[in-house]
């Protein structure tokens, strides 16, 4: 018999006691490091645990993201929380129930086959025995390793899996305090950090005199280019920061004077190159038509609704931090390194924040809070960024240029395919490179600068995510030009490179279809033998009422985009209907998704809807502007996002496959949605815009070029 394959999280945290605690009668505590970031994970994990423990959800308490008691599952990222974290909890809970039943059988002196568990009771021959879970739990050895041999509840007989359970966290969020921002600890101080005005700026001098005597100021702390202030009340801190800003003299320098577009600029930058090639070019095809096209996207911002916030207390050499970081364990290590503390003396506790779409400022503000808390021992310090710093100093999604070249034969066969990508790094999370990787660490004296970051195809290569076209082709070549020298910090933002790569691949598939004189849907299906891929496209086509022979250049059109996220997660097809005059109006969007076993169908639909809308916002509106010194898009006016009156009608079709493993959906819709909109715009205008975002200015310029 082969050993069952254990998910990564179980391999790293093999003991049952790392996942479950039944020491309090009536309650099952389940531990997970996968944290709520607005995606509904805590509800889904509670469903999974309740299912396998055969307990009502009300008896299951999921404790998530607390380094004091949770398993170290690294980050909540990559759409893997259900696939890896959820499966791990499922395995642990199934095994816990099995262990309890086995032990109960011995305590009842009965054959195991006669003993079952339901609702926390131990049943003997289907009737309640004298034992419940918690009486038996005291007799079970919880330090046993998880073997993965306990069977899961079959989907068809499950109570909670595949059910629309309402989000557990939502009621509090519509009624009052619910977020890290709302945490109030006794004696808590409110702090602010004075960020440099630009990337290369150094602090020349700081006049504290106008600040020291302001009401409520408890501490002003400067170290190198880092300046922070702590006050008794929050608005005092706002005013103190204003005064600090006036009193600070910075020496600024240009870090890049190149003002070319990203499309022109990125291929000229120093790069670390890697490539892969697979298959053989189709031989013998004559009269092939060769095409190439280049696409780009600008840097984009997380633009979370809330500015980053954290609370820290430093007491007798121990540091405790409350944060909405996606990775409490890596953050703990980074904080310990930055502060020169033993990791065992640092606790990091997750508290929910506003939507987290990747590596934003949550980790950085935790170090801000920790640094200032150390200056006022035994008093909790709450730090909140302002909107301007949130948009300017959070890591950005990297600008990217993607060039694709391919050839089709007269018979419509794809002869070869090559994708060349220029991108900054997408993985600069704390501890992903070097011991720290936090903003304030690079500003204090002595600084811990950000290490040079780049990606190669043989390792973690966020820039190449989804660069592999998911179609049947005889040959493909991928070249990644990783750019370590971008003048600003880039890191993980929802889909990493997947958004730009799917936008490019799926735009190019339409360009190839045009060259072959084929309908875009029919052309894609020619190269898709995977039945699950075909089915999502066919479902979207059916829901949207796709018309293959629609006229072009009428100002109205439909477009399609398809991808399987990471080539391993959920399959999504999106069809967008647009109307284009000078602006693009997306009238209706239909999505179809296959995510394997679905824990919470409405939760999946909600994620896909949100992914589509966020992608439309990126695709039509968003670009971070960098003027050579600083990010200048620092307010909602300068960095507009999708508004209510720009939101299309939405419909999402869910293809349920309860017999297949669950697949992550949080990042699955963004690439296909971008491509669907871009392809629709291209059909509506009868010319294509290959640089994002597709703004009025770009449409006007491309229109002039097309008619010239």
């Amino acid at each position: 018999m082969t050993e069952p394959k254990l998910p990564w999280s179980v391999q790293e945290n093999p003991l049952l006691c790392q996942w479950i605690d039944l020491s309090e009668p009536g309650i099952a505590r389940v531990f997970s490091a996968k944290v709520e970031i607005g995606q509904g994970i805590v509800t889904a994990v509670t469903q999974i645990a309740a299912e396998e423990l055969r307990l009502p959800m009300s008896k299951v308490v999921v404790v998530s993201g607390d380094t004091r008691c949770c398993p170290n599952e690294s980050y909540t990222a990559g759409s893997m929380s259900i696939e890896i974290g959820g499966t791990s909890v499922r395995m642990a809970c199934a095994e816990a129930r099995k262990a309890i039943v086995e032990r109960a059988a011995r305590m009842l002196d009965a054959e195991e086959s006669r003993v079952t568990a339901d609702g926390g009771l131990i049943l003997l021959d289907g009737a309640p025995s004298r034992l419940d879970y918690w009486q038996v739990a005291g007799e079970v050895d919880w330090k046993r390793p998880i073997t993965g041999t306990a069977p899961f509840t079959a989907p068809e007989s499950s109570t909670y899996l595949g059910r629309n359970v309402a989000r557990l966290d939502l009621p509090a969020k519509v009624a009052g305090a619910a977020f890290i921002h709302d945490l109030e600890l006794p004696g808590m101080l409110h702090g602010r950090v004075l960020r440099p005005p630009s990337y290369g700026a150094r602090l020349g001098s700081l006049d504290r005199s106008a600040v020291e005597h302001l009401p409520g100021v408890v501490k002003i702390w400067q170290s190198g280019d880092f300046v922070g202030v702590c006050c008794e009340r929050e608005y005092q801190a706002v005013k103190a920061l204003e005064a600090l800003r006036v009193g600070a003299a910075w020496i600024e320098s240009e870090v890049s004077s190149d003002t070319r577009s990203w499309r022109e600029l990125l291929p000229t930058l120093r790069s670390i190159d890697s490539e892969t090639e697979a298959g053989e070019r189709l031989a013998g095809a004559a009269n092939v038509r060769r095409l190439s096209a280049t696409y780009s996207r600008p840097p984009i911002a997380h633009a979370s609704m809330a500015p980053s916030c954290a609370v820290a207390i430093y007491d007798e050499g121990r540091l405790t931090v409350w944060t909405n970081s996606q990775g409490v364990f890596p953050l703990r290590g980074a904080l310990a390194s930055a502060l020169g503390l033993d990791e065992a003396r640092v606790a990091v506790i997750h508290v929910q924040g506003a939507g987290v779409y990747g590596h934003n400022g949550a980790d950085d503000v935790a170090l801000d809070a920790a640094l200032l808390a150390r200056q006022v021992p035994s008093r909790p310090v709450r730090i909140q960024w302002n909107r301007e710093d949130e948009l300017a100093w959070s890591p950005l999604g990297s600008p990217m240029v993607v060039e694709i070249e391919s050839a089709v034969s007269p018979a419509g066969d794809i002869v070869d395919w090559s994708t060349e990508i220029w991108s900054g790094p997408h993985g600069q999370r704390p501890r992903a490179r070097g011991p720290v990787n936090l903003l304030a660490a690079a500003h204090v004296d002595p600084p811990i600068p950000f290490p040079e970051a780049y990606e190669v195809l043989s390792g973690f290569a966020g820039g190449a995510r989804n660069s592999e076209p998911g179609y049947d082709m005889p040959h493909r070549k991928i070249v990644l030009h990783s750019l370590p020298g971008l003048p600003f910090r880039t890191s993980a933002l929802r889909t990493l490179g997947g958004y730009a790569n799917v936008f490019a691949t799926e735009s190019f598939m339409d360009e190839l279809a045009d060259a072959a004189g084929a309908d875009p849907v029919e052309f894609r299906l020619r190269y898709l033998s995977d039945p699950r891929a075909r089915r999502v496209i066919e479902t979207a086509v059916r829901l949207a009422g796709w018309q293959s022979n629609a006229e072009r250049g009428t100002g109205r059109a439909s477009g399609i985009g398809f991808a399987r996220y990471k080539n391993t997660a959920a399959y999504v097809a999106v069809i967008a209907n647009v109307e284009v005059h000078q602006d693009v109006r997306v009238a209706k969007v239909v999505g179809a998704v296959d995510a394997g076993l679905v824990i919470n169908p409405d939760g999946v639909v909600n994620q896909i809807e949100g992914g589509i809308l966020q992608s439309i916002s990126w695709t039509l509106k968003e670009q971070v502007v960098f003027d050579g010194r600083r990010v200048t898009t620092r307010t909602w006016e300068e960095y507009p996002i999708l508004r209510f009156d720009e939101v299309p009608e939405l419909e999402v079709g869910l293809i349920e496959r309860p017999d297949c493993p669950p697949l992550g959906v949080g990042e699955a819709a963004q690439g296909p949605a971008a491509a669907a909109v871009a392809n629709a715009v291209a059909r509506a205008l009868d010319f294509r815009i290959r640089d994002l975002p597709i703004t009025r200015e770009r449409i006007v310029a491309a229109s002039a070029a097309a008619s010239a």
Binding site: A166, G176, V238, E637, E649
Partner: protein, 161 residues
């Protein structure tokens, strides 16, 4: 120089002292009155996260000096409804699972509360127009609009009973 103001929040009078005359209502609500459901988003009134009702009108509390609401009546999300006795808008947002991270929702609820408070049936266009200055980053917009439509119907039925 500190100043003291008498304000009415959720039907309760409060005397509050602020160190800076222009202190926005938002900070008084959150820090002095402990009403954390009103949220900071941008500080310049452009995202709607901090919306409260002032004499029934949706206002941005992040740029509303506390002195300016003396003699007026402020309602925050906590005054609109509670988990035990939710307002139809709170009920409907939960029913429609109209949220992902939920940070924008209290401001959106307060904006919609003004609309619903008029008693006139809000068309979808009116709802969308009312929410023009409320931002949502997660993409819960379509569910939010549907929930507000349902909340209006529920509030009319509730009033008729």
């Amino acid at each position: 120089m500190s100043t003291t103001h008498t304000i009415v929040v959720n039907r309760q009078p409060h005397r509050v002292t602020v160190d800076h005359y222009e202190t926005p209502l938002l900070y008084v609500l959150r820090d002095d009155l402990g009403l954390k459901g009103t949220r900071f988003g941008c500080g310049n009134g452009s995202c709607g996260s901090c919306t409260v009702l002032v004499d029934g009108h949706a206002e941005r509390s992040c740029e509303l000096p506390v002195w300016s609401i003396e003699g007026k009546s402020v309602t925050t999300i906590e005054g609109l409804g509670t988990l035990d006795r939710p307002h139809p808008l709170q009920r409907a947002l939960i029913d429609f699972q109209a949220g992902q991270c939920g940070y924008c929702l209290s401001g959106i609820i307060m904006t919609a509360a003004e609309l619903i408070g008029t008693g006139a049936e809000p068309s979808r266009e009116k709802i969308v127009a009312a929410l023009d200055a409320n931002l949502c980053r997660c993409g819960a917009h379509t569910r939010i609009v549907k929930a507000i439509e349902a909340a209006w119907k529920a509030s009319i039925q509730g009033a008729a009973r």
